[in-house]
Amino acid sequence: MTESTAFAAVAMPSAGARLRRRVFGHKSLVFGASLLAVIVLVALLAPLIAPYDPYAQNLLARTQPPVWYEAGTWAHPLGTDNLGRDYLSRMIYGARISLVIGFSVMVISGLIGTTMGLLAGYFGGTVDLVVTFLVTTRLAMPVILVALAIVAILGGSLLVVVLVLGFLKWDRFAVVMRSATQQVRSQDYVAAAQAAGASTPRILFGEVLPNVFAQLVVVATLEAASAILLEAALSFLGLGVQPPLPSWGLMISEAKAYMFFSFWLIAIPGTALALLILAINLAGDGLRDIVAPEGRE
């Protein structure tokens, strides 16, 4: 800088400060991320904050309504279910199931899909043909029906649900990573790395992956949300997580018979599920806005 600069120096916020301002200025991202953080915190601290053992039955105190009903008491803020189990405790432990499912399915399908997408996008040609064929094949199978069939054969359990969904839901990862990689592949810095003599793994992990990571994060959040919904659907149909585990989907299913007398039994886990999905989707959308190229300077 010369002493006499032509223009009054403008207070230029640092790159980090600008990013912070953009993140915190994004209302739906802040809302979604905060809600998600609360749910994660609740799930992590379940043993500390749950007032009762979620499995402890008390047949004398069955289907007690939550506090906001006239007959409700603070002893069971969210009431009890048809076996007299404290609904708040079951909800808190249920958050763990949903998050475990969402996270594990995301990791498994993410690993499979990202690998396929990276390879297809980078190498093109035959590899691309094979991956595209696999994606098409996979897309021809309805997730829920295939999952139902497999779970029906193997029997439902948390592990089976995670594995089945994990091995079924990689398609969006593969599709998005493929196109993102193709785009990065055509950048000259990849050619420059090749010309420098860098090995293919080095280029894939050092040059390509960091530049498609933003898109990866976005897909991952959306897939986690969809996995949680699928688990709820499977559990509702009785083919997912098995009783007495407190999965939110299973809780809705168990409450079916009581929905006309004890509506809260369905409403509470239903609302929780909707809020969790909303939180994840808002956070994912927000992230996409922040990392999208047109959002950058």
Binding site: S4, A6, V10
Partner: protein, 322 residues
Amino acid sequence: MSGGAILDVRHLKVDLATERGTLHAVRDISFSVEPGRTLCIVGESGCGKSMTSLAIMDLLPKSARRTAETLSFRGEDIGSPKVMGRLRGDRIAMIFQEPMTALNPAYTIGDQLCEAYRHHRKASAREAREKAIALLERVGIASAGDRLGQFPHQLSGGLRQRVMIAMALMCGPSLLIADEPTTALDVTIQAQILRLLAELQEELGIALVLITHDLGIVARIADDVAVMYAGQIVEQGKAGDIFGDPHHPYTRGLIDCIPQPGKTRPGERLGTIANTVPSLVGEMRGCAFRDRCPHARPVCAEDVPERRAGDHMWRCVLEALP
């Protein structure tokens, strides 16, 4: 100068709202164009030349704010969106740098050529079609009738730019604004397109405002030249004066940067302009070029006088370059 002017722009300013503050993209520029003449606005990226053309056409992005004392086309106030809406595409036409983005890929060439004509002239489909064929032939497109049914992606870059020119001429405009019309084209095609523009301009007597970064194009096609730097016109005048006797250090610096057979020796150092363009965000005072100017002195931080010799105008504290 503004007596017979077809386009008169006085004290035009364009401000853009950005994350870092207000960016003064165009800082108080004035110029006018007379019928049958070519004005070239030349400058490097970010100097505000494209913003100027968009401001005239009332096509600025939403974040931009335009103010002008006068913005008139043949005495009509084109600062009013209503007036401009009537004149744009009819009396005033524009050609863009990348014809592929300016042409709608979903419609045929014929549809796009005829649309504005039918809209402004209330002409029948047949009249419009005949006019389109005649113009395509005039801009040098063979088998014009067949081309009408084609889509933009089926044409080469040079052909597309010819179609753009034909489209601009459909309603017989009296003012044509061309923003970097040949930058995306090969040199051989560039020469052809420029020739075509020059011929058409002479033939139809239209006023042409050509915006470019290429001094070669300016020298060959311009009658009048406005050199823009950091949102201001720093030098303005007849093409011969600007190239033969540049008065602003920036203009001279730019000309010295270009290798020229006969003037520069192959392999020798070319002239350069030190440093980079200043940020246009925030308030500014004094000469915008002073950080890069070889003749800079303390007084350059003060307000810069506008000097004139005949039609030749330049903004510099120096009366003549050493």
